[in-house]
Amino acid sequence: MDLSYSAEEQAFRDDVRDFLTTKLPEDLRDKVRDGGELNKADMERWHAILNAQGWLAPNWPKSFGGAEWNAVQRHIFEEEAAAHHAPRIVPFGLSMLAPVLQKFGSQEQCDYWLPRILSGEDWWCQGYSEPGAGSDLASLKTTAVKDGDHYIVNGQKTWTTLGQHANMIFCLVRTDKDVKQQEGISFLLIDMDTPGVEVRPIVLLDGGAEVNEVWFTDVKVPVENLVGEENKGWTYAKYLLTHERTNIAGVGFSQAGLTRVRRIAKSEMSGGKPLIENPHFAARLAQVEIDLKAMATTNLRIVSKAAAGTAPGVESSMLKVKGTIIRQEINDLARRAAGAYAMPFASEALEGSNAGLPDPSGAGPVASQYFNNRKLSIFGGSNEIQRGIIAKVTMGG
């Protein structure tokens, strides 16, 4: 047992810090720090900077152009990136689709799609959920019927995050209706410019339009866009979901969030003193900090086990549950800290137009973020579903 980082790990952290202080554009840093919304160009700019450094794909093997970092390195990067207010990496192509292609895709598919993910030529979105298939994903109804060298796709996906920016969507589609649900699903890559694809925005409760409905009407998809074998999509999807769940603890986000809460509470006054000196508030803050410190170590324990080659199983479900509870608690603290000034409608979505709003403690859109981040315990497998997995794995049944 040794809780200190090795000399190489420390050196790696220094490199990361150096990179972030010199290469992260100030305007992006300020936007992230103040809770502003990043637009498509912002995200693409940051991706390009990381790509030039060779750090855009930390978990890809070197052979595919990735950094092939181990779990501790990834953890260090995540922590430093959050502390420096770097934008998060848009995960759909880089950390969701790519691992599936690398494991189950053909050589041609890897050669064609992976470089385009790195270069930013393609923007991917995830087409899993449907109106009737949320937690029960396997009940999905969107169909793909083979017709010569094409599939004809019909149906509807929903909750598609950042689908408005995407030109490609990876979808789970039903290719066989006559077998057990899980055994009739295929994994298909669909060009969103194909006739018959329609994207409609969904406005969320904070006023933001980050998710969409995607409709498919007789959409022709070349058979080369099938990943792996027909009707094996469920296996690939589950593989992808475990990748979606690594990093799910969001330790870096929580650390950055706590820093922000402290900053707000130092300038917000209560009874003539900074709020941070109020014993009740200080107790709430300390409580979350204690939880976060423990979770950061849990996270490291699990990622180093993963580094040793053991795939994270039930532990990733545990991290998802605890990590989201902590992040949501921090969002709650930030909103609480801002007092009456949490009330103005400062939406992340109203990019640039928050300037006129009063905000004496520099809180930014804390209440909007509090509501928006209720999603953390719903998506990527809801916390109830995760608890079900933990129970099933540890107790059977």
């Binding site: 959920s129 949320g134 937690s135 029960d136 009940s139 929903t158 909750w159 969904i202 406005v203 969320l204 409760l205 904070d206 006023g207 917000e268 006054m269 209560s270 009874g271 003539g272 709020l275 109020n278 009740h280 508030f281 709430r284 949501q328 709650d332 909103r335 609480r336 801002a338 007092g339 009456a340 000034y341 949490a342 009330m343 103005p344 409608f345 400062a346 939406s347 006129g356 709003l357 009063p358 004496p360 209440a367 909007s368 509090y370 509501f371 209720r374 999603k375 315990s377 719903i378 998506f379 809801s382 916390n383 109830e384 608890r387 079900g388």
Partner: protein, 377 residues
């Protein structure tokens, strides 16, 4: 003991509930929220006609109610429908202060408020006062026959629509003294007032109100010079009762929607309410609803009590509603899944009303500390 509503209050509740059910659905309300004024004059006029505003004032003041339970009945219904019109600000706070303290000529305003022709706002909180009612930094200085106001009033709800403002300012003493605070009632377009408006996350609008050498005749003062604190505290108590009842109504809607959804939404081939993980959470919410209802009854029933008892009950209710409200809002969203995150679904707005109520008149922490202090006193 009798926990039934009087016949008059029952009638008011029925009428108001029916009116809002028929006239204030999600789509209508969301359009109102997005409109420039953030409120509907039409709805306001009809609420006045139904006697809803009159129910918030005593007979002496020209109304036909005004007790804690009258406020509770009205605001529970407003909360149930997620009403964003500024009833709290115009009638309970600003209008109420004029009714409590005004001389005969000032009282004429109350009649206009009850009739629905007058919008008002109470400009009291300041950027560094947080939830303390006594931390008034804005100043009022006598200059000859005139009074000159200077200061910055923060997040003044309904300031843009208000024709008349009730403004607090200090005539003597230091920030934090209860003594020395005065109230003034003045037209919102008085020279020297700047109003910087913005929309609120949970609907409605507020503004920063800047007072820059605002000159008033001494007749604009409400009540005695420097002695307004007790009246402010009592009015904020009434507003807190109203707001707690409003939150209770909103929580009723949230739990109702959630219960319905658990029965109809199917995943894995069965209604999601049949999963015990959700059924038990729903049960917990229903238990908290009973607690919340009782907290509102306790506070409403003590609004006419002596100051110490009244304030303890109010702080108890605000503390409990802050906690129960957060639980109901968050768990209702969680049990719905993604659908509750969408603006066009009723719960989205209702959850915002519930949670953001904790940012007015003191949050759950503020009232816990205050309850301890009051209990020790």
């Amino acid at each position: 003991m009798n926990f039934d509503l009087t016949e008059e209050r029952q009638m008011l509740q029925d009428t108001l509930r029916r009116f809002l059910r028929e006239r204030y659905d999600t789509a209508t309300r969301n359009k109102i929220i997005e409109s420039a004024s953030g409120m509907s004059d039409d709805i306001w006029g009809q609420l006045a006609e139904l006697g809803v505003i009159g129910a918030l004032f005593t007979e002496e003041q020209g109304g036909f109610g005004g007790a804690g339970f009258d406020l509770a009945v009205v605001f529970e219904e407003l909360g149930r429908a997620g009403v964003v019109e500024p009833m709290l600000d115009t009638a309970v706070l600003a209008g109420g202060l004029v009714a409590d303290l005004g001389d005969e000529s000032q009282q004429a305003l109350v009649e206009e408020v009850i009739g629905g022709a007058m919008q008002m706002a109470f400009a009291h909180g300041e950027p560094s006062s947080r939830y303390d009612l006594n931390r008034v930094q804005a100043t009022a200085k006598a200059e000859g026959d005139e009074i000159v106001l200077n200061g910055h009033k923060a997040v003044v709800v309904n300031a843009e629509a208000a024709q008349m403002l009730v403004v607090s300012a200090r005539e003597s003493g230091n920030i934090g003294d209860t003594d020395g605070i005065s109230l003034f009632v003045l037209p919102a377009d008085t020279k020297g007032i700047t109003i910087q408006g913005y929309a609120l996350l949970a609907g409605g609008r507020a503004a920063e109100v800047m007072l820059d050498d605002v000159r008033l005749p001494a007749s604009a003062r409400l009540g005695a010079a420097g002695k307004a604190f007790d009246a402010i505290e009592a009015r904020v108590a009434a507003a807190s009762v109203a707001q707690c009842a409003e939150t209770l109504g909103a929580m009723e809607t949230a739990t109702h929607l959630t219960k319905e959804y658990l029965g109809t939404r199917k995943q894995f081939g069965r209604p999601i309410g049949t999963f015990q993980a959700l059924a038990h959470r729903m049960s917990d919410l229903l238990i908290e609803m009973e607690q919340a209802r009782s907290a509102v009854i306790n506070a409403a029933g003590h609004l006419e009590s002596a100051r110490g008892e009244r304030e303890r009950q109010v702080s108890a209710a605000k503390n409990l509603m802050g906690r129960a409200g957060r639980l109901v809002a968050e768990d209702s969203i969680q049990m719905h899944g993604g659908i509750a995150m969408t603006q066009e679904y009723e719960l989205a707005h209702i959850a915002k009303r519930i949670v953001m109520a904790d940012h007015r008149f003191g949050d759950t922490d503020h009232h816990l500390e205050r309850y301890i202090a009051l209990a020790a006193a």
